[in-house]
Symmetry: C2
Subunit: 547 residues, 2 copies
């Protein structure tokens, strides 16, 4: 006798118990008609991942439990594995476990608790959960399943293991037949590689097949790429599910045991970033029940790329762009923007901000007197544009998309409440040089973004003949330094030793640190790298370190 | 032979190693001249608490270690206890420990590692630190000291202990003579009570004197109140150091053993909130090396109280307020504001925003057509005001103070990039009803805030004859519901069962949850309660829970 196992890679909505439960009930029904013996959902599937401080509400936990019971009632003739929090019966320690339940015959048959609780970067699991200290296989139809939760498999194959225990080592004493891991493993453009490496290390060590179920979809700023995996016991990838799609696939355990198939997807950086961001926009709007986006098109590459991504995610009909030239704007900025809007078939309006700008200078004259033009006047222009976009948003129900890239967010090259406004930062985790790559990728088959937007020197156009290079080093130099500091957590000494000029490195690191106050007040940033601004990078505003 | 112990309650600056080290070297010198045998500094005193992700940089840890070595070199003829991170020599587990070092005779003599790592609310310690699993007393001049770090004493006297182990129970096997606890225990207006209760519980259980050293001062949004404590072994508070002050005090261990003195301060809520916020403003500006604040005075109580607190913290000369009436503003709003400015002796300017407002409507007319006045036009006014304040800030180097109170931040009654702008939220953790109490406290001896500002019905004055009560329930009803939901983590069922109307409760909880996107983009909020908006309250923006 063999077993048919369904890997159900779905997109959940945090706290939307009705939707999540219905989606799983439907999947169970479908799996039954496919003759599956067992269906596996992802980590904390009942409530969505990460539920964050909602976990501190008894009401929220009650709803998770109700959802588990509803699923159990449907678990007739099919086993269901589903992630959900469970209450820690012991008074000492945290109140909850991060658990996976095995449901069968209308009942909860068993559950496993997570032992390795990721508490770094975007993860806060020890904030809520007590780590498991005892380990038992769960039994299903004569098989013994080594059931683990996400990080539980992540202390093999890492250079710097974060944990002192290894759940699978414990479970092996009980001679399991196969492994199931329920996950909510976030996307980063280089993460799928390491995920496969780490899981393969487990499979090789334990010589058991592995069914790895991941979440697919975006939760505010965090993307989950899916890419669920099935491994044969030799360590070969038997199958990899698609990225950024809901998907249910069925596997005969006997076939997986035998291996022989190896189905892995391409993992090219720029297409993955593109697809990830599109998913991020789609779910941000969809799950908040918004449909329309507003963008300020400056004629620069950042707003152009943002607009294309938004049009791809939401449809051209749902995008409204504003062109807001001042007397510092070049003619081609408007022309290029119009051309882009026409290529995409999106609605655009032009509002000249010269008169408003003039009016601000007028009312401020009694305070400013004859003080010279400086960043104040530049910011006034950026803020007028932000305000007009927000007015559009308020009147018609758009969400304004923030167009800042990661390089300028890093060094504070942007105006708070001006170009840094918006409900969602689309490319805030994409360095400027990568933005160019995304633009070229967008234009790979035909010119969607006018070439002039890509080739002209970057400029904020907030004063006469301004160029980014007036105040910043070339992005070819800036971006690698930022990458070393932000993604790689390298200090000044290490970065300088890589051959960068000392004075420049210190200046850039200082800019990053003194501009934390700006990033604190910007929109959530769709995360595509291993270290993005936002919840995964927590630094004090008031400090004096490298600043 | 007895021992003279110095409790050094100081205000550190995160990452400012030079300043922190110099401050401690000076304190050591002073303690030596006072004949102290031992001086105790607070938790992570070398780098300041909380250093957050700076801890992930090797360079930062190197600097902490250098600081410890400099202090050790000064530890001749006096013992020094100081908190600083230390590197975990084991590869498995987190890279660091949160440690306390005993320095003497020019050397590191011993160190203790923290076992209980707070990872809740504003705390993220397990993000960085491995918990200690072995425990040893440190020996000094023939005494055995049970040296623990902050939370290590916090699993006694709590209803819901978060930890499964108890470091002091372990240390008692080695028969220590007294306890030293180095802390960075944050302020909340009701926290000093529970701190004394928990520490007393320890003293009573172990029957040892306790020297408890806390940090004093603000770190961005977090206040540390000091209030360091010395307990006699019977459980009596021998001394409590002042709140919000740097202070060094000396104790003869023999006298502390005998007890007999009991010196505890008043802990009244409103004066504590007042002092806490003043400290918060002072350190935010001081540590960032800013001196001047700008505030928009609306004629309402929130901006009035904010201005008084700012003047107290920074001096009247450093405050510049703008009065920015529109045609919706009442005459008394301007008059009251002028009167307040005059009472305080602060600089004020009046800018009428009517013309700018009109100009926005003009340029938006082609887009808006004849659509009726709505929240869009209200927000335009609020945003013009925000922009003018930011222009002042940019031109003259002010930090704009945000004037939103906790009630309106909770329900989203405020304009993003408008009245919600600013670098620091002064009263964002103070409910509206508490703002009234603070105003009355300010006026306790003389009328500083014009009485009319306190007594008139709250209004945003963004449309004709508008009152807060048009869209919100009375604050007497709103605030207790918010308190139950936010501070007490009570769900709808529990709140309704307290006698609040169901429909109202659900409406308010929904408002709180759907407005997370606004709070995400506002300034850090000076934390005075046990649960403030910001880093201590982490909820998803995109979710559908109670919303």
């Amino acid at each position: 006798m063999s077993l048919t196992i369904c890997v159900a890679q779905l997109n959940f909505h945090i706290g939307n118990f009705e939707l999540n439960t219905q989606k799983m009930l439907k999947a169970i029904q479908e799996a039954k008609t496919h003759g599956a013996d067992l269906i596996c959902f992802s980590e904390l599937a009942t409530c969505g991942y990460p539920p964050r401080d909602f976990l501190e509400f008894d009401d929220f936990i009650d709803k998770c439990n109700q959802s588990v019971h509803k699923l159990a009632e449907a678990a007739w003739g099919i086993g269901v594995i589903v992630g959900s929090p469970s209450v820690n019966p012991v008074i000492e320690g945290k109140d909850l476990f991060n658990s996976a339940f095995l449901l069968y015959d209308g009942k909860i048959q068993a559950h496993a608790n997570k032992a390795l609780l990721p508490t770094y970067d975007i993860f806060d699991e020890y904030r809520y959960f007590e780590p498991a200290t005892s380990f038992n296989v769960v039994k299903f139809k004569g098989y013994k399943i080594a059931l683990t939760i996400c990080e539980d498999l992540w202390n093999l194959g890492n250079e710097n293991p974060l944990y002192t225990i290894c759940p699978m080592d414990e479970l092996m004493d009980q001679h399991p037949d196969f492994m199931v891991n329920v996950s909510a493993s976030p996307f980063a453009y280089d993460h799928a590689h390491s995920r496969i490496r780490v899981l393969k290390e487990n499979v090789k060590r334990y010589q058991l097949p592995l069914f790895y179920v991941n979440h697919s979809g975006a939760q505010t700023e965090i993307l989950f790429d899916g890419g669920s995996l099935v491994f044969s016991p030799t360590g070969m990838v038997y199958d990899e599910l698609p990225y950024f799609e809901e998907c249910m696939k069925y596997y005969d355990l006997k076939h997986v045991m035998q291996g022989g198939i190896s189905n892995v997807q391409h993992k090219e950086k720029i297409p993955l970033i593109y697809r990830g961001i599109v998913q991020g926009i789609k779910d941000y709007f969809g799950k908040l029940e918004f449909t329309k986006a507003a963008v300020g098109l400056s004629g620069g590459i950042d707003s152009a790329v943002t607009t294309v991504l938004a049009a791809e995610a939401l449809g051209a009909d749902n995008i409204h762009v504003l062109l807001m030239p001042s007397h510092f704007s070049s003619d081609h900025s408007v022309d290029d923007s119009i051309q882009l809007a026409q290529h995409l078939g999106i609605k655009y309006d032009i509002i000249n901000i010269a008169q408003l700008y003039h009016e601000y200078l007028e009312v401020l004259k009694p305070l400013f007197g004859d003080l010279p033009f400086d960043v104040t006047e530049e910011n006034i222009q950026a803020r007028i544009r932000g305000m007009l976009l927000m007015a559009l948003s308020n009147k018609f129900g758009h969400i304004v998309l923030n167009t800042s890239n990661k390089s300028e967010m890093a060094v504070g090259y942007g105006t708070l409440y001006g170009d840094m406004c918006g409900g969602l930062s689309v490319i805030g985790d994409v360095y400027k040089m990568e933005v160019f790559e995304v633009a070229n990728y967008i234009n790979r088959d035909q010119e969607i973004i006018p070439q002039n937007i890509i080739t002209k020197p970057p400029s904020a156009e907030l004063r006469h003949d301004q160029k980014d290079s007036d105040s910043l080093p070339p992005y070819e130099v800036l971006d690698p330094i930022l990458y070393q500091y932000i993604e790689k957590q390298q200090g000044p000494r290490e970065i300088i030793s890589q051959g960068f000029e000392e004075e420049l490195v210190l200046r850039i690191l200082r800019l990053v640190n003194i501009n934390e106050f700006k990033r604190y007040q910007t929109a959530p940033v769709i995360r595509v790298s291993s270290k993005s601004f936002g919840m995964g990078r927590r630094v004090p505003i008031v400090a004096k370190y490298l600043s």
